[in-house]
Structure formats: structure tokens, C-alpha cells
Amino acid sequence: MNALLNYVREVIGGTWSLATGMGVTMRYMFKPVTTVQYPRQRLPLPAAFRGPIELVRLEGGDHRCVACGECFRTCPSGVIKVQGHKSVAASRNQGRFYFIDFARCSLCGLCVEVCPEGALRFSRDYEQCGLSSLVGVQDLMAKLKEEHP
């Protein structure tokens, strides 16, 4: 007899749990949609956001990089190629080009920390895509010049 009893209880309990499950989905159906309709709306980027690195821009459109190669040595994936030259014998070394291949960078942030001059910081560009595998290769100095001529 109790076999029949728990058969009925099983059927009732089962249908009840299915019904409450559907109740939950119905409730969620009328909840506001959480989609951020990119590219119309955009999520606010956190202040500490880590995009590809860029050179810190001083007032005169200049940068602080002295091409000491510290970032070049510490980068685990060999992303950075930097070259400097001395305009005058006694003056400090002045960076000439600063190539990075963002397609090999793992955004660990060691270069930004280790730079003695504080010449690097994280950019906030997160929407890069391109048609060739060299999409990540940029010369940061040229980019600095063209953004603020």
C-alpha cells in the first residue's frame, strides 16, 4: 500500500517542483534585461583597467622614455623593442622608437612597474581588432605624435 502512496507522493512532489521551477523562469522573464547593448551603450571601464601600454604624454607632447631597456629585459614575452639615441654627447638618452607587439603581450604589467622613469601606463583601448596578424604592432612614439601633433 505504501508503494502506491509514495508513487502518488512522487508524482505530486515532482509536478510541484516542476511548477515552482517554471514560476522562477516566469519571474525572470519580466525582470529588466541586463544586456549592455554594445556598441550603442558601453560598460564603464574601471579606473585600474589594463589595456595595451602607452607612453605617458607630457605637456609639450613629449614623453619620458630614455630607452634604458629595463622594460625590454623584464618583459616575459619579449613584446617591447625600444631604441634611443643621444642628440648631444652629455644630454640624456632620448627614445627614438618604441615598438610593442600587443599580440604577444600578456598584460602582466611588469613593464609599467619596473620603468624607472614612470614613462609607461595602461591605455584604455579595449576594442582592437584587425585584418592582419600584425594588428598589435604599434610604435608608441609615433602614436603619441599623431594623437597630439
Binding site: S17, T20, P46, R50, T74, L107
Partner: protein, 370 residues
Amino acid sequence: MHRQALTEDTFYLNLGPQHPSTHGVLRLLLRLDGERIVECQPILGYSHRGHEHMAQNRTYLQFMPNPCRMDYLSGLMYNHAYCLALERACGLEVPARAEHLRVICAELNRISSHLLWFGAYLMDLGAFTPFLYAFDDREDILAILGLATGSRLTYSYCRFGGVRDDVGQDFLEGIRAFIPKMRARLKDYDTLVTRNVIFVNRTQGVGVISPELARAHALTGPCLRASGVGYDIRKAEPYGLYPELDFDIPVRAGGDCLDRYLVRVLEIEQSLRIIEQAMARLPGGPVKATGVPQFITPPPGLYHTSYETARGHLGIFLAADGTRVPYRLKFRVPSFGNLGILPKLLPGTLVADTIAILGSMDVVMPEIDR
């Protein structure tokens, strides 16, 4: 691959390496008799990237981004474990505020890892909607962790002797807003999934693991705690802030898929408790020990560190030779042991159970293949 002429009526089925529910690239070579499984042989290595070989030719600091890419679901915990290993070896002291921030971020990472597992597991069983709800919560956590660390998945947030930089008020506000929302959402998951009769039938009594079998196969983490053995490194060998926090370890005795599910869901609740306690007593002060050299050189010798990640016991074995570069670095990865038990569980079950058992093991393939 040997492939005899199929005289008998069993046939080989390759589940993977590209399959919707192998969570990465795992290949299960199944011998099927109709729908029932006769023998199962997991074949690994499809996402082997040579982390341990890389460790032998870069300095300790340069190896920093690698641990987060082994188990990208608990990236911050791997990062924390790697820094812990080096701090113990070199005897570095970590300021109190950094310890608190590490514990808060690690527990948030554990919740996001369990949520992703919850969504993926339900998708394996056929319900697609909980996956979207779990991802919705996970996005909130990633937004909060983004405020502290700046990235969503591969954090590299901890450094030797502390964390990279301090957190602002919006990080703390985000967590305070997140915790009640998560608790309400856990109640909805309870009614939608835990009490659902189809889910219970699909997972109860499936893939039962006895405590002895679990110990023989070196199972750790939620899979072990679902078989009745309450072994959690945060309690067995406490590190960081855990000795001073009071939280308990959910342990279930059944050892089947349902209990592995329940252990993880209860662990989300415990992690919320830990975060609340750590937030309440968050001290001020520096977040990074001063005077840590850029190239740390731990004294020669063999070191071991244990850490409790979302999947179990992560052991880091370090053979240091006193130079800047590790001589040998071995990661004892929890999923490697957890997956090793699969060939023992599967014979005799159906294909649908294979997916349920594999899903309940919560394996991440790049962590196994290193």
C-alpha cells in the same frame, strides 16, 4: 591508435576533443556496447602549452603571468599560491592589508569559478537558462574584481610581498551591494535547480565515489568533500588570513553527482561569509612590502606549498638552486587527480551519465595539460 576489426558488437566513440561538454579539449575514447559504456580511456595533452618548461628559462617575476593561465577560472588563486610559495621560500613578510585583499579577491574568484561550473554543469544536463543566470552573477563579480585588478580573467594581481596596488571605495561598495544580491539569487537557484525533480533524478546516485576510492585516486577539493572526507587546505594547513576567519567546510557523505553539486553551492555561501568577515576587519596600511628585490633568489633547496583552489589541492613543488631562475617548478594540479578516477566510474553507465559525471568533476583542461 590501435583499432582492431570490430568483431564484437562494441564500437569506439570519440567524445572530444571538440565536444560541447568536455569543457576544453579532452578526448574520451569510449568503448560502447549500444548506449552503455564498456571502457573509457581519457586522452589528454590537447592543450599542453609547456608551462613547466617555460618556468625553467625565465625569472620568478617573469613567470608571474603563467599561473593564471593554467586554471583561468581560479586565476587569482593560482597567482596567490605562486606568490605564497615564493614568499615562504624567501621568508618575505606580507602587510596585513595585502593579506585581507588577497583573501577577499581569492574568495570572489572562487565564487565566480563555482558559478561558471554551475552554469556549465546545468548546460551539460540540458537546462540552458541557469547558465545565463550564473554568467550574469559572474559578470558582477568580474566587474568588482576589475575595479581592484583591472582585468577580467588573467589577473596577475599579487606580487611577491603583497598586491600590485590598493583598492578604492567603489570596490568595497561593489562587494557590499553584491553579497545580498548573490544570496537572493542562490535562493532562486535552489528552487529552479536543486529541488527540480528531473535534475535530482539525473544526478542522484550517479557516479558514486567511496572515500577509499577517493583517497586511492588522490581526489581533492569538492569531489573529495562530497565523498565524506572533510579535507580542505584552508583548514588542514592554513595560510594567509584563514586561521583568523571562522567559516566551515561543507561535507556531504553521498559521493554522487548531487552531493558534489551541493558541496559547491554551499561553498559559495561560505565564501560570502569569509568575504564579509574580511571586509569588516580590513585594516589600513601599505599593500606591498618594501625592499623586495626585483630578482628574488630563494636559497637552494626543495620547497612545497599547498593551496586550496576552487577545484582542490594545488601543490607547488619548487627546486631552487639559488639563482634568479627556478631550477624546476612542478604544479600538482587538482583536476589531474580528479580526472584520473573517470576510467573507474564510467564502465556500466550510459552516455548521458558520462556527461553528468564529467561535468560534476569540474575539470579545466589547460590546468590538467599544463
